[in-house]
Subunit: 480 residues, 2 copies
Amino acid sequence: MAKDKKKVEAITSMEEDFTKWYTDICLKAELVEYSSVKGFLILRPYGYAIWENMSRILDGMFKATGHENVAMPMLMPESLLKKEGELVNGFAPEVAWVTSGGSEPLEERLAVRPTSETLFCDHWSHVLQTHRQLPMKYNQWCSVVRWEKSTRPFLRSREFWWNEGHTIHETAEEAKAETELMLNTYADFCRDSLAIPVLKGRKTDKEKFAGAEATYTIEAMMKDGKALQSGTSHYFGDKFSRAYDVTFTGRDNTLQYPFQTSWGASTRLVGAVIMTHSDDNGLVLPPAIAPIQVVVIPVAQHKEGVLDAAYGLADRIKALGLRVKTDDSDQSNGWKYAEYEMKGVPLRVEIGPKDMEKEQCVIARRDTGEKYFVPLAELETKVQELLKAVHDDLYDAAAKRLEERTHTCETMEEAKAMVEEKGGFVETMWCGDLECEMAMKEKAGLTSRCMPFHQKKIGPCKCAVCGKPADKMVVWGVAY
Amino acid sequence: MAKDKKKVEAITSMEEDFTKWYTDICLKAELVEYSSVKGFLILRPYGYAIWENMSRILDGMFKATGHENVAMPMLMPESLLKKEGELVNGFAPEVAWVTSGGSEPLEERLAVRPTSETLFCDHWSHVLQTHRQLPMKYNQWCSVVRWEKSTRPFLRSREFWWNEGHTIHETAEEAKAETELMLNTYADFCRDSLAIPVLKGRKTDKEKFAGAEATYTIEAMMKDGKALQSGTSHYFGDKFSRAYDVTFTGRDNTLQYPFQTSWGASTRLVGAVIMTHSDDNGLVLPPAIAPIQVVVIPVAQHKEGVLDAAYGLADRIKALGLRVKTDDSDQSNGWKYAEYEMKGVPLRVEIGPKDMEKEQCVIARRDTGEKYFVPLAELETKVQELLKAVHDDLYDAAAKRLEERTHTCETMEEAKAMVEEKGGFVETMWCGDLECEMAMKEKAGLTSRCMPFHQKKIGPCKCAVCGKPADKMVVWGVAY
């Protein structure tokens, strides 16, 4: 297959430098561009389209479970942010402050939202009156700002786009069920739309969200073996309700505090897709979120009937409800093949004069490079079958990696050696002490990713660090 | 019809106080709530759902005409904003400034975007190389901040949600065609989805967008006769390209500056819908953007079979692709009727034991209050027919008002007297001098809304202010 060598060679290989390979894909697949403000990203059309597909699918899942979208202000007064001590301590070092509006200095400075719990609580304190209004299950799609010191496209930037769900409930049980429901929603989305298997579990106290009583997480393993926290769900109890004076008249006519949750997933997921599926030829996208699912390339397009044949195939594919593009530009076939490989388009359909004679077309899979000669009559069946195969094979490869590179160890030394040699995650027993968690970080370079919901007992059930009896299994890793 | 008097009485009547009537609807229909930052709004679920419907329809129209969504940063350096003199002079008094990030003061302060021309230009200056990349037709959905002195829900707030389209083209002709296309897109959207007729035209130099060579506008007339600018489209020539050094290699191999446009419509449109269609019982929504298009109310729902019958009707209506809600709560019928009137739901379907006996249901129109006894077999036909009638009748009433309250005058004195007596718009000839436009404002209290595309000659074609020969017809009004 002819290729535009220059373009392909411009990507650093994954093996040579994973970090540079990642950034190369972000830029060369035209997902993002750096802006004139350090650490702030521009989502270009192709990158935004991926996020738009993700958002649309997630939004449908949120609505199907009874959530409503709202929009809160992007600015909040410092005094409001400060009402809940842990939250402000967690976020204050990362806040961007607005100090003047127009030509006037402000009496009180305003925080650009780093997250919106305080805004939702303040709103609820004004509108909530009775248990009849509960639950309130809200979500918003927006960008937030956190003044991170070092930044990388999608993974850590000073502005990122996300959904933040915020809900209040009559009882603690309902709120806890909500955190579980939404964590599962994120996990299902990763599996069904992103072809990414995730590990579900609870964060340790050290790693949980500022102010939360419990944080649940989904953790994915990237191709370099590192962990990417891909979505979180928090249970707050009635702590924020008390801090912000959110109350309602209960069924027993007493004044009560509602129980609260929040949950979020962000443009980080684009980073997760890149580092889970892509290769040295560029991006590889799972079909569900690919802006173009099938690209049709007319071969020798100046020959009579070729363009019409290509348009005809595209129309048939579009009629399946798929996102299809015909590239009838005057670029070479080599350029086109390289371009759509770089952009991770799952299937490429080629048709030329010879194919037309044989009443066939060629379908090439982006993920495996396999080529199929497909009778024209079987186009629809084959395209759908192959798209499903792409998704399933991407998922299976990632699941195999997650399984093979999750190691079971009994001691910290063993864990350290295993991650240094093979990369990936390690699971060990843990006594629950912060000191042991800190030691794991300082001595082995590993942070706790989560205490998986599916716990198992390892060896004699002793803490990998201190050796005391331990009843918790923790998964550790090096995290983005 | 029984009603919850308390709730209905809580709205100020339009006649008594139009401004208060408007605000009452915004709050009591639960569209918005004030936030803890002065001039910043919270879009509550029902208000957001209206905007979401508007956005979804507009987004489809933008994509159908080849536009792509992107996301630009919410912050921009002061130096970038200042590169184009007119723009910064226009917006500087309204900018919110970020002066510290985390605990560090910033070397250069950052503007929270009031509009994003400068960000797009800066981006294009980095990525544009050749004419083959043109046109670039981008759009973004976001919120922007302008530090307005006095604010009102939807009409003027310090943060508002909008689309801002930004495009660059190879030639001036293409760019001009784009501004026209997008103005027509907005006008068609107002007509087909909001049932609002608009006046299309060009702004005078005094009223045009800061830095634009030409600004086109759609102006709608509210029930109180005032004008609401409802969407604008700007042509910049190559002025910003030159200021921001956006260049490309042309077909003739020379370095050229592209020609630029931008266009926007905002949550102001929600205000336009309220003040065009609503009444003293609350909101009236055109079906295309109503979050709930049909509400089904089971009457005497404790009686056997009533609830199932109601759910059955709702299922049939949903199968038409409509947004339907069954209110099976234990509130009284009177409360329910008042509630959905307040919320502007276009059709209410009632079914009770007597209706079931007669194999009928009752359908009530929100806009006219008319009730229809509909045989159950004809439900689908009648619902669709009535929704169309609601839209058409709302549009016709607004079009009639626009026509009847647009007065043709030959002098400023006449124009002043006419608007004072009858309200609405006046059309006069205008010589084109700024002084005459200013006089119209100072002496008659009228601002120029636009020079309509459909020009006509009035009387002896003399300027209504100075009496000199005049070849432009201007429509004047009192504007929101």
